[in-house]
């Protein structure tokens, strides 16, 4: 029954929008890294761990360039 499958959320950074403010990296280095040009990337594979959901949402709400999004979906590895 699908009703018992836990909901899964995925994090995405659109590199073309990221301008290197590094707000996401400051808020949650467990989820994001930045390169020497400031561009952010998601460092987890798979869905967002439940204990980091709050921080992931804060990263979305603090990105000045609207480059980060969270989407609900099924893990493609399942």
């Amino acid at each position: 029954m699908t009703a018992n499958i836990p909901r899964q959320f995925f994090l995405k950074v659109e590199e073309s929008k990221c301008q290197g403010h590094n707000r996401c990296y400051l808020i949650c280095p467990e989820l994001f890294d930045v390169d020497e040009y400031g561009t952010a990337k998601v460092i987890i594979t798979g869905s967002i761990p439940i204990h980091l959901m709050g921080k992931a949402e804060l990263a979305v709400q603090n990105c000045p360039e609207l480059a980060i999004s969270i989407t609900e979906g099924l893990d493609s590895n399942d």
Partner: protein
């Protein structure tokens, strides 16, 4: 005394002047009243200047370098001395595609990880400056803009660039010339720029003879498309780094001390709950963002119902965007635990402040160390606070009383 070109403002709605001393002093009330009447004000001053006051318009301008060139970023009585796409101080005055490569050249020197290595040094610097502050024994007051706030970015950036620290006062005078004295004759503006260029040329020549591990030597050796940077590019970038690297952070530290000096609840909370500092830093950046940028209109066109003319100036007030009630809840209230805070203190789009990691670190450490040393203080002589003039806003003279 050099004569101003434009006189004091009597009508802020359609004859405003960002370089009238009354502007920065009253700016939050002015924006609110202007925003209600027309979110895009216009003045004939400086050859025609627009002031958009909504977050939405500021964002649209920042994202449209084709209509809004960065060739001129400081509104003044003369037009930019070096044409687009390079401009006088790459990459802040540059447009794409040149901008993209000129910027990539600098980004790694200011990356988050590289800058974070400087934290201990910056902390020691702040502690050292605090040790040297002389508290007036009869009034228990200290002046913290000149004697603390401005010295932190000066000490840090001068070392990174490779200019002599003993020239501090001269460098502060260049900053005033370029960012504050924009309402003088075009000849005077050019004279001021020439004075800075002559100074920088001496230090570039010296670095050519004696290379060092600093940003001047880095730029001398840097290449774009297999060629060394031309002299004007090197000089302009160094000028940019020291002006943008000092004035901005100085004002951020000063404005935050001003806020804490008359909001004792916020001060007490930061002392008792240091973990609030993460959001507090971003909230101060939102509420007291010091930097308004500018753009030049590249062709006649219509923008939000306004007829913009080629070569007019457009001020890009990120600090006003940060206080737009359409974009932020309780926009004019400082809430140091604000969670969602998409502020634009470091700009938006391709010109995001290159020094933002450094500025944030200096700002945070400066405040942390100050309140650790002086957990209780209040504004003294609040009527005598002097605010800067022009596009970079912050207190230039700020006295606080240390409480026991």
């Amino acid at each position: 005394m050099t004569k101003s070109i434009y006189g004091p403002v009597t009508n802020w709605d359609d004859d405003f002047d960002h370089a009238d001393p009354a502007y920065n002093k009253n700016v939050h009330a002015l924006w609110e009243s202007m925003r209600e009447k027309c979110p895009m004000a216009h003045t004939k001053r400086y050859g025609g200047t627009w002031l958009p006051l909504s977050y939405e318009m500021v964002r649209a301008i920042a994202y449209d370098p084709e209509h809004f060139s960065s060739e001129g970023v400081l509104v003044g009585t003369d037009k930019p001395p070096v044409p687009r796409p390079v401009g006088a101080a790459p990459p802040i005055t540059s447009d794409p595609p040149f901008h993209t490569q000129a910027r990539r050249l600098l980004l790694p020197s200011f990356s988050s990880k590289k800058i974070s290595l400087m934290e201990d040094d910056i902390r020691h610097l702040c502690q050292d400056l605090l040790n040297r502050l002389v508290i007036d024994s009869s009034t228990s007051t200290i002046e913290v803009s000149s004697n603390y706030a401005r010295l932190i970015p000066m000490n840090v950036i001068i070392k990174m660039i490779g200019l002599p620290l003993q020239d501090s006062e001269l460098l502060f005078s260049f900053i005033k010339d370029l960012t504050e004295d924009v309402n003088l004759s075009p000849e005077k503006l050019m004279e001021n720029r020439d004075r800075l260029d002559a100074y920088l040329d001496i230090h570039i020549a010296d670095h050519r003879k004696n290379p060092r591990d600093d940003l001047i030597s880095y730029l001398i050796n840097a290449q774009l498309d297999g060629k060394n940077l031309d002299e004007q590019h090197i000089r302009g970038t160094i000028g940019l780094m020291f002006i943008a690297g000092i004035d901005t952070t100085w004002n951020m530290i000063g404005s935050t001390l001003w806020h804490l000096g008359h909001n004792p609840d916020d001060l007490t909370r930061l002392i008792n709950e240091p973990e609030v500092m993460d959001t507090a830093i971003e909230e101060f950046l939102r509420a007291y963002a010091p930097v308004t940028m500018a753009r030049i209109v590249t062709e006649d066109f219509e923008f939000y119902g306004h007829d913009l003319k080629k070569d007019e100036w457009v001020l890009l007030p990120y600090p006003a965007a940060n206080r737009d009630p359409e974009a932020f809840e309780n926009a004019d209230t400082v809430q140091i635990d604000r969670g969602a805070n998409r502020h634009t203190a470091f700009g938006l789009g391709i010109h995001r402040c290159i020094g933002s990691n450094l500025a944030r670190l200096e700002f945070r450490v400066a405040i942390e160390e100050f309140i650790k040393r002086f957990p209780r203080f209040e504004l003294a002589n609040a009527d005598e606070i002097e605010w800067s003039v022009g596009q970079v806003r912050g207190p230039r003279k700020l006295e606080v009383r240390i409480l026991s």
